[in-house]
């Protein structure tokens, strides 16, 4: 991870990056319909950023993003999770109560049985999936970025 790799590798990494990110968002958003969810989709998104780190070198990615941005991203994800739980406590009976079932936002109830693929279902589950996905993307990417930076600094 020292410095840029060859132009072939960097070009292919830059071409693949949006597709991997879109696939990660797909896995996160469809967490309540298909296998997967926040943790898995977040790991895919973090691996996309790790691919950029390997291809372009740590210094360049660190200059572009910085680990503080990713840490703030992660903390916002955790805050959304806890806030949704507290809102469930206020609007309904208990902490993390699924208060959105029956409401227009994510509130439809799917028919019993196999998966018709309606995205507007699940109550608070999509919101929690997005929060956990933000947490995992930010956390894993920032910790790998800072570990690569620390090992590179130690070599000098």
């Amino acid at each position: 991870m020292n410095g840029r790799m060859t132009p072939i590798v960097t070009t292919i990494a830059a071409l693949l990056f949006p597709f991997v990110i879109v696939f990660s968002f797909y896995v996160i958003m469809h967490g309540h319909l298909t296998p997967g969810g926040g943790f898995q989709g977040g790991a895919i998104g973090a691996s996309a950023i790790v691919m950029l780190i390997v291809a372009y070198g740590v210094k360049e990615i660190y200059k572009k993003t910085g680990d503080e941005t990713l840490s703030i991203f992660e903390s916002i994800g955790g805050l959304i999770f806890v806030l949704v739980g507290i809102i469930g406590f206020i609007m309904a009976s208990s902490f993390l109560y699924n208060f959105l079932v029956g409401k227009p936002l994510f509130g439809d109830i799917p028919p019993f049985g196999s998966n018709p693929g309606e995205l507007n279902t699940g109550g608070i589950l999509p919101i929690l999936n997005i929060a956990v996905g933000m947490k995992v993307i930010g956390g894993l990417a920032s910790v790998i970025l800072i570990m690569a930076l620390a090992t590179e600094g130690g070599k000098k």
């Binding site: 903390s75 955790g78 902490f95 109830i109 019993f112 998966n115 608070i124 910790v143 620390a150």
Partner: protein, 84 residues
């Protein structure tokens, strides 16, 4: 000597527990499984019953998992972040 006695007692305990286990796949009580399979879609509105268990019925567990992740990442960042 004391360690050997403790080890033998613990080994006997483990072997007895393994002998007393039910065969794999035979459940004794299936009320909760049936309840979740039948009612999860109506109560949470999600097709994926695994996600509805992880994020709704066991939401505290997921919150703790996220907290463990947060703590591990915060520790790694505190140890490894270097400033000039």
């Amino acid at each position: 000597m004391k360690k050997a006695i403790v080890f033998i007692i613990f080994a006997i305990f483990l072997l007895y527990t393994a002998y007393e286990l039910r065969p794999f796949g035979e459940i004794k009580e299936s009320k909760m499984d049936d309840y979740i399979i039948e009612n999860a879609q109506n109560e949470t509105g999600a097709n994926n019953v695994v996600t509805s268990v992880v994020f709704d019925y066991r939401g505290y567990d997921t919150l703790g998992e996220a907290t463990v992740l947060f703590t591990a990442i915060a520790g790694a960042l505190v140890v490894l972040r270097w400033r000039k």
